[in-house]
């Protein structure tokens, strides 16, 4: 699915190079290809807070404001996720992180298998205990499938730090879920 998105985006950029980059329709089309992925990253990074909608809107409007600085030879997805990451950090500077994450926030309906619900809750509980920056790394990797190199570009963290964060979270989840394989 990621490859489909990236080939679609490269087509968009070959068109945008010739056409007006500031065209509303072009920007909206680009956004629609990654909006759910972006929204979920923000939502989960701030522990399913009600402010997710505002942070998402701020991210998109900021991307729109600085669209003229974007170079089409780079990845649009990486670029906009960098803006989202900074907006989440800014959000945490202005607001204290949620001290507890409730199941009601994660699950919008009751139609869940109890065991699966417990497993999912535990994964998010472990993620919640991470520091905000570490949590962002966690969701960039597991939610959006970015590589270590891409996460390094987005967050500004070194690859070694990223691997350490991911290893720690993985070990915690494995310990709870009882899975024994090692990540290398």
């Amino acid at each position: 699915m990621d490859m489909k998105i990236s080939s679609t985006m490269s087509n968009f950029f070959s068109i945008l190079k010739k056409k007006d980059v500031l065209s509303s329709d072009s920007f909206i089309t680009l956004l629609e290809s990654i909006e759910d992925s972006l929204y979920n990253y923000i939502l989960k990074s701030i522990n399913f807070s009600e402010d997710a909608d505002d942070v998402y809107q701020d991210t998109v409007l900021r991307a729109l404001k600085y669209l003229h600085t974007f170079k089409s030879e780079y990845s649009f997805k990486t670029w906009i996720f960098t803006i989202a990451t900074n907006q989440v950090r800014y959000y945490f500077k202005r607001n204290k992180p949620n001290s507890s994450l409730y199941e009601d926030s994660i699950f919008t309906d009751d139609d869940w298998d109890r065991q699966e619900k417990t497993r999912i809750s535990e994964v998010f509980r472990i993620a919640e205990q991470l520091k905000p920056r570490q949590r962002q790394v966690f969701f960039l990797f597991y939610q959006n499938g970015f590589s270590i190199k891409e996460i390094s570009e987005i967050t500004g963290l070194k690859s070694g730090n990223i691997r350490f964060i991911l290893n720690q979270s993985r070990e915690s989840i494995k310990a709870y879920l009882g899975v024994n394989n090692e990540y290398k």
Partner: protein, 131 residues
Amino acid sequence: MNTNKDDQMISKLVCRVDRSVPPAVKRELKKAIYKTLENRKTRMKRIFLSYQAAAIAVLLVISILTVIKPFTRPKPDTSRKFIVATHRTVDESGTPLNRQVYEIRSEFEIKKKKIKIIWFQRKTIDKGRKS
């Protein structure tokens, strides 16, 4: 890309609670995007037109000054007389002699400054040569 089974399992659990962007948020955002980009285009047009107008104004001023300037110079208050004098026109028998230019006299007067310049040539007068 997650190659490890554990990573895939965790990824699957994380993505199980994915949500779509709320329609109200999408609508508001679209409105804001169109408004921002339209405002930006209008602003750019205005800036472009103001530069054009400024350039045209500058060109107008330069051309006006270039054309008008010669007409604003004060006319010199001079009067010039050109006198051609000849010595004789007929000989003793009354036969007309060839008219000869004997003297060319030019008088310049600048009344304001009370200056009078008289310039004359005599004797050998050749139009092409100064004597």
